[in-house]
Amino acid sequence: MFKRKSKSSSNENQASMDSEDAGEAVSVPTVGADFIRMVSDAVHHTADLVVKPIPPNLTLIYIDNLVDTVTLNKHILEELLEQPIESPENIVSILSVPQVKFAQKNRESVEAMMDGCVLIHVEGYAQVVLALIPTPESRQVSAPENESQVIGAQIAFNESLSRNVSLIRRYIKNPSLCKEDLEVGKQSKTSIAMLYIKDVASDQMVTTLRQRIADLQIDSVLDSSILEQLIDDNSLSIFPQMLLTERPDKVSAEILNGKIAVIVDGSALAIISPHSFIEFFQSQEDQNLRWQTATFLRLLRFGAVVLSVFLTPLYVAALTFHYEVIPQTLLVPLSESRALVPFPPLLEALLIELIIELLREAGVRLPTKVGQTIGIVGGIVIGTAAVQAGITSNILIIIVALGALSSFTTPSYMMGNVIRIIRFPLILLAGLWGFYGIMLGFCFILVHLLRQTSLGSPYMAPFYPPRLIDWRDSIVRLPLPFTFKRPTNTRPEDEDKYKPEPVNPEKNEQKVK
């Protein structure tokens, strides 16, 4: 059934593309009235199409909601009315608008109009002048909310592609920073920018990514998170294989590491690839802090992941099957708090985990002010009441809360979600088969992770395949003099970030003297 459907839709695609190809070849008519008819036909006589003839020989066409009327009045209309216009070249010289182009083809001019151009047609000429004056509809850049940091830039992307690119260009002023423009979506025609540093990023990876985006046959891409699912290596996997981030400093740092960034117009998140599993747990702040602190925080974060995934399953397994591993001192409090609970440990754990997930989901959906209240009400009232009512044991509440808390330490929101969700099958396995079940689940996850790739590079790098030099900046972070190499999984054209300097330059200087 699916096959048939896709086949018919591809046929339609073919047909529509043929007609578009025909339209593209038609050049702009020389007669103004013909041009007006052509344009209004192309946009199916939409109500917000404005046609403004300026006697004796000019015609202005634009979409009302797409152009900035202040600029239009001040810098186009005023100047065009001031003196008679003889040719399109003449217009370019007098317009005080930065982006002015010529177009010879119908299709090209209509598309430019949809981007926010004013079309200026001069009677008798087979070309049209395009003056780009789009409405400046984007909010101010604000502080990052989902990936906040104490030390580091307090700036996040917003929904404007050009603003986002400018943010990155401000960090990397290198002329080799390439921006490639791509367009995806038959209906939405979303602009997409691909950013990388030539001679640093791997050419092969750039080609692969460009090809993946260009090959997309889809009607729209409304957000970069959708694009990410469309272009990653295994879209069936629960693990994201490309990073989504709202931090321009993170994107810049990764571009400098030889990675490729993709920015989608209308989305406040940039895509970074290739990105390995370990890198999802590294924060940009780790680079900003001193290396000892950064190493401690990284170890804490990895510990939190292990805790978050395995703590509740271990509780369930130990209480259901392996009572002998419980330390003697814990035996009495554990069995006493379990004594009144009517459910087996499996059901008890699933219940509390679901309550925690409900609280989290409710907290996300509710407005900020109400969200906090619900958090307190839910956390304290339900937590205490559940124990008092004898539905759950005290110790499980602590374990579950600890697990939930730990999962929020992951800097990537996408990965944090995954960490919380893979706990559920593990709890189920623990309840069915005890420690053997947990081990089975762990092996399954590990095998799956080992099989993944991110833009063709191994997902579990630098541990498998082992890249010893990258271990310096993995679950630990060594001081900067040791981490001068770019990560090998990006296969950079230029491997060294900088020349390895002596660890303590002052000492060496003294020696020279």
């Binding site: 130990a318 209480l319 259901t320 099957f321 392996h322 009572y323 002998e324 419980i326 003697q328 035996l331 009495v332 554990l334 069995s335 006493e336 379990r338 004594a339 009144l340 609970v341 087996p344 440990p345 069915l432 088969w433 005890g434 079940g437």
Partner: protein, 374 residues
């Protein structure tokens, strides 16, 4: 698609089979924390089990159940029939043997404990003076749970090296190794308390003799290295020279604390066999009855000599006693086996040789850090 069906079938089968796994939910099992074995009529076993159960009023109860049968596992089934919850032995922390039972042999008990994967290798074993039943069933006013109390008592004293370590791991090693015998602590009820009274010496799996608790220091000293603990010693007054103390009393009591000891064994004669045992002890004096200035190098040296002499005679006495009863708790046989190529030592062969064995004890006692102690 075929693969998909395969996984669906696998999932259904595995979830179905998941129900077959026997659950042992913590609050639904009775946890045996301590078992005592006594000799019953007609060579049977009388087991006394201490079982912890969780009550509904959030208070755990301890019950003591006794049963008699021909075998250990038989008594276990019998005890189970008298318990409210299914008994599990995964939290077993100690096994006690009545002395009559120990004289008959504890080998099968060690064997069954080892074969049960739920039982910890860190479980402690001990012999009870008299029978275990009366020790366990006595109502001690100051002890809440006798099972945990005995485990803690033994554990604490083993950790501070006051008594020989008797974990299942070590005991089973001693039991199965050729040329090494088991030594277990002995406990008894002393009025309202439980007390460690000595150590039991075994020949293979049968208890053949006992030593006082003070002598366990010498056994331990000649078995392995020492890091902890204190020892009280009485040195004869006439063994000290007159320069050290004028008009010495008959005996001087002193307490020392071995900071570091090292035992070095050397086989000097294969035939007879003869061993040189050099023990170096670095210790500090904690308390000395008479007024001797240990700070003075000369008197310290005199004291070292006297203590060495005393220790040597004590250790020789303990070794002689062990030889007499035929229990090689020091592991000389094992040392012999491992240092003689192709010795093909068997149990019987070593028992013969052990009687003839000669050990030359040399003690190198050094006093250090005689300033402070905690």
């Amino acid at each position: 698609m075929k693969q998909f069906y395969f996984f669906v079938v696998l999932l259904v089968v595995s979830v179905g089979l998941g129900g077959c796994a026997e659950t042992k939910i913590l609050e639904e099992v009775g946890l045996t924390t301590l078992v005592g074995y006594d000799l019953a009529k007609e060579d049977g076993v009388e087991s006394t089990a201490i079982i912890r159960q969780v009550g509904t009023e959030l208070q755990s109860k301890v019950s003591i159940i006794t049963a008699e049968n021909a075998t250990i596992q038989g008594t276990r089934a019998k005890v189970n029939r008298r318990a409210a919850e299914k008994l599990e032995s995964g939290q077993l922390r100690g096994v006690l043997f009545g002395d009559e039972f120990a004289k008959k042999g504890i080998g099968h008990s060690i064997d069954t404990s080892l074969k049960n994967p739920a039982i910890s290798e860190g479980m402690l074993l001990a012999v009870v003076e008299g029978d275990t039943k009366s020790l366990l069933e006595y109502e001690y006013p100051s002890i809440d749970e006798i099972g945990q109390h005995i485990h803690k008592l033994l554990d604490q004293n083993i950790k501070s090296e006051q008594v020989i370590s008797s974990t299942l791991h070590e005991v089973s090693y001693d039991y199965y190794a050729v040329g090494r015998d088991i030594a277990l602590p002995i406990i008894k009820r002393d009025e309202e308390l439980v007390d460690i009274s000595g150590i039991a010496l075994f020949k293979k799996d049968k208890m053949v003799g006992t030593l006082l608790v003070d002598d366990s220091f010498y056994v331990k000293l000649s078995r392995d290295d020492y890091h902890n603990g204190t020892h009280e010693l009485k040195v004869k007054g006439d063994e000290l020279s007159s320069t050290l103390l004028k008009d010495p009393p008959d005996e001087i009591s002193l307490v020392f604390d071995p900071i570091k000891t090292h035992r070095n064994l050397k086989l000097v004669d294969l035939k007879q066999p003869e061993f040189d045992m050099n023990i170096s002890i670095q210790a500090r004096i904690l308390e000395i009855k008479d007024n001797i200035n240990i700070g003075d190098a000369k008197s310290a040296e005199e004291l070292e000599k006297a203590i060495s002499k005393k220790l040597k005679s004590e250790i020789s006495r303990v070794i002689a006693y062990c030889q007499e009863i035929g229990s090689d708790v020091f592991g000389y046989g094992e040392y012999y086996r491992s240092s003689v190529r192709n010795s093909e030592l068997t149990e019987e062969k070593w028992r013969e040789m052990y009687k003839e064995m000669k050990v030359n004890v040399n003690i190198d006692f050094t006093l250090i850090r005689s300033g402070v102690f905690e």
